[in-house]
């Protein structure tokens, strides 16, 4: 390869000097190509604009996702609260009904018992009470 060491006094390693020359040539070529692009400023502006739009869309999307998540969470909590209330109400109603039926059956049982006792008492006077019953009849006749 035709190669002239530019930094002959400074760099004695020919491979290093060659690599540095290629490096410079590469940077020059890249810089020239980039510099000669006519719409660099426009491209930068467009790039900034795209970046801004990207950020805005990203923010909107993130905010939307967050709001959706929060709404969904809130909605689920609300449904759970309603379901819990309904279950509690049902349980309360069932308990009331059970208590009412229990109370009603207790009253019926008491009434039946009293009726039975009354009828039994009216039908049978114990032998021990006979003299008292007679005394009461005599008092009444007097």
């Amino acid at each position: 390869m035709n190669f002239e060491n530019k930094w002959a006094g400074e760099i004695d390693d020919p491979v290093l000097a060659e690599a540095l020359q290629h490096f410079k040539a590469s940077v020059d070529a890249w810089s020239e190509a980039a510099y000669s692009q006519p719409q660099t400023v426009l491209r930068t502006a467009l790039h900034s604009w795209r970046r801004a739009v990207g950020w805005a869309l990203g923010c909107v999307l993130a905010a939307g996702s967050l709001a959706g998540g929060v709404y969904e969470h809130h909605h689920r909590q609300e449904l759970a609260r309603i379901a819990a209330m309904q279950a509690a109400q049902k349980a309360l109603q069932a308990r009331l009904e059970a208590e009412q039926s229990a109370a009603a059956s207790a009253v019926t049982q008491d009434q039946d018992l009293l009726a039975t006792v009354d009828s039994d008492v009216s039908r049978e006077v114990p032998a021990a009470m006979e003299p008292l019953a007679q005394l009461m009849d005599e008092d009444g006749a007097r």
Partner: protein, 201 residues
Amino acid sequence: MRRDGASTKVMAAGTAVKPMTAGAGEEIAAQEFARIVESHRPQIFRFLLASLRDVDLAETLTQECFLKAHRSWKHFRGESSAMTWLMRIAINLQKDHWRNRRMQFWRHTRSNAVDADDAGEWLPSGERTVEQQLLAREQVAQVWKAVEGLSERQRTVFLLRYVEERELSEIAQATGLSEGTVKAHLSRALGRVRAELRGTR
């Protein structure tokens, strides 16, 4: 560098500009500055491109560099060449950029910087064989890889010397370092490049 009188501005190596008188007006100053922009813009852009490996960013910082230079053009006393003065502004802008990126670490995720391998793809074809071109491309990629591993200061000094081909004294002026420190940085940078190349030989 040459200076003709205390108030002469030195634009570039070998070219000097007569001082602006009060009556010359702003038009002359504008023309003078336009010439500076025209002659030095490609070099400043190239240096920033090599430092940052990001075309858009290099373009933006080049614009900023000339904007700053324009603002402080009145205060430029010609103590160094215009190129050295501009290079110093560019180096400071680049430093600010790296500092901001370190502060705002999440920007690392959104970078347009080209990979070392991709940067090495640029090579003038010349009159070389395909094999020579491949070898050259490999060498360029290795140099980029080594440059990537250099400290900010070493990289700046290395690029100013071997891409911009600036003299040691100019590099010292542009970076605000002593010539001895510049030499030390260059030596370490070259050692790194050499080691990288040896690894592939």
